[in-house]
Amino acid sequence: MTAYIIRRLLYAIPILIGVNLLTFALFFVLNSPEEMARMHLGEKRVTEEAIANWKQEYGYDKPLLFNASAAGLARFTDTIFFERSVRLFVFDFGSSDDGRDIGYDITQRMWPSLAIAVPVLLVGLAVNISLALFIVLFRATYLDLGSVVVLVAMMSISGLFYIIGGQFLLSKLFHLVPVSGYDTGLNAWKFLILPVIVGVIGGIGAGARWYRTLFLEEVSKDYVRTARAKGLGERRVLFRHVLGNALIPILTGVVVVLPLLFMGSLITESFFGIPGLGSYTIDAINNQDFAIVRAMVFLGAVLYILGLLLTDISYTLVDPRVRLQ
């Protein structure tokens, strides 16, 4: 097991190098630092001097990959690639365009993101699984058909409308909660309720439908027939046997997204004005702050690979048939 985990972690290194090369190519090769400077400085006719100044200020005045003017190892370390990309591997994200430390900002901003993402995940799981079990209990009836139609309709509504509708109903019409904003500590709860409700409702369509399919697959298996044949009631079969077995795919599906919860949700956070990592990314995109976008790309890749690893490990924990080598 330990050997397997170590090997998987080593396997992550080439992938992260690939991610890094890709973002490096995207940000520095396709668009030279000159062009970036020109865009940031804005005007059509920018002097060469201004561009040089901008590049020096933000540390883009070095060669891309190989510094011929330096000596020894510095030929490789005194380059944009080393400064900007290799340092990401030790989670040294550098500073954003307005001079703030990106690493510090990330540690500050991940808490509001988690404060929304974790409740949405947990409440959503509970709601979706109970709904799906309820529908499966009444399978092949008009109730089942009607619920599926409603679920497909809910799936077909853009997430934006759930947010707009929720804000309109709860905040504007009934004045129950503030439209947007955030507060520190426990006072944040009233700003969190609406995003969580919206997130859960927005996920019901796809979620409950997916779990319903999972349960229906289990229901048609032999052990369910055995359980019924020995005289167990339908509810006992469903809640004890089917739910227990269907938990394996559910659990592994959840584990893979766990690390990515840190990244937050772009849309929800920016709509509700929550200072999490999602709105951090959106702001960076809108301000064209490439340093932050690159840091978030790298962080996202790391978390994704972590999610894959956790999934494999959780398989062995819940399903004794799976052995990792």
Binding site: T23, K172, I285, V297, G300
Partner: protein, 470 residues
Amino acid sequence: MPLMPVVLWTDALVFLLIALAIGFALYARHHEHLRAPWRGVVRSRVGMASLVILSFYVLIGILDTVHFRLRLPAPQPGGQTQFAPEVLSLLDIVLRPLRDAQEKTYSAPFGTRLFVKEAVTQPDGSVVRDFPRLVHGGSHLEDPDHKGRDIQVTSLWGAAQGLIAWGLLGLGLIWLLARRRGKSLPEMISLVWQGRTEVPWRPAFITLLVMLVLAFAAANLALKYHILGTDKVGEDVFYQALKSIRTGLIIGTLTTLVMLPAAILLGIMAGYFRGWVDDVIQYLYTTLNSIPGVLLIAAAILMLQVYMSNNPDRFESLVERADLRLLFLCLILGVTSWTGLCRLLRGDALKLRESDYVQAAAALGVGHFAIIARHILPNVLHIVMITLVLDFSGLVLAEAVLSYVNIGVDPTMNSWGNMINSSRLEMAREPVVWWSLAAAFLFMFALVLTANLFADVVRDAFDPRLRGVR
């Protein structure tokens, strides 16, 4: 020539897609294993009904894809013929009354007055602050307060037109059916009416009736009113929503089209050749997959913006620029979404290469590429088809979200995402400006819902293992 045809990049790809679809249909006609699943789709009631609705969307989308520039009236006889700089589509010509009905700013659906007060000069010369009458919406009315009756009459008249059109179209279709079956027309009508045909024509005709009545009523009303209101600069929202259909359809279809070659080639190669080829391809898609999709799109679009703002002279017109951005968005969405299909194809190719007929072909000395083309590709086509249909609705929804974050289509382009984006701040107004949102919601919901229902039917027809589980 009275007009100069303009073929934008996405237009060309749409025409290619249509040609591919027709070619595939002709090819599939003679191959039973390809026809059978489609027969399953056509025999489902939901499938037929959603096909009818989808064809309305596709028709509007295709009309909006034929672009041209009109000729300007010649300044002097014998002078050089000049073309208007504006690129129009067939749909623009059809919707000319809507396009020209420009107001000053917001007005409510079926409104006769502007949404904001202005200084209005009364007939007696005094100036009052009031809501002025609209220039086009309901301008034919003597007394704008009695518009209710006019609306009823107009919509009933439109519905009657729709009914007549439906009757003619339906009779024509049933006549064609009757001729093919060698039955008489009344016989065929009664078969369809009782729902005793193999292909469920009855739900299809009912859907067609609803759509035609709605379309004709809306068309008649739209000539007199702004049936979905006007936006901030006074443009008709109904017109915007119709124009957005093309954007949605293009994102939904072209994205899958541009990713297909890479996904099919790499997926099958990984599964068939295994070994280091498999390792390289797996590494490639794991790497791409591990970058969060939104961020990759954001980064790519940012780079495109940098490029476009630094090279403004490379684009002849705004339309061309917006079109290239749309194409680029499709490409980058394709890059983020091909990995799923690639993995599925790899899995199936792994299984298929062990099958007896592939082993037999290999033993007989058939080359690798012949085996792939003849034995593997036809057997994974159903996966490709299912992915194509299943991805569509997700991509349409993704467009709205991306446009909201400003990394979607060009802000000058008509799209549901841009409609939502521009009207979301108006929710804070009192009274609320809700109609742009409602229009975008309505058109998007109808398209995505039918696409979802259709996708389910297609998946069941193509993947028999899932049948009964649904």
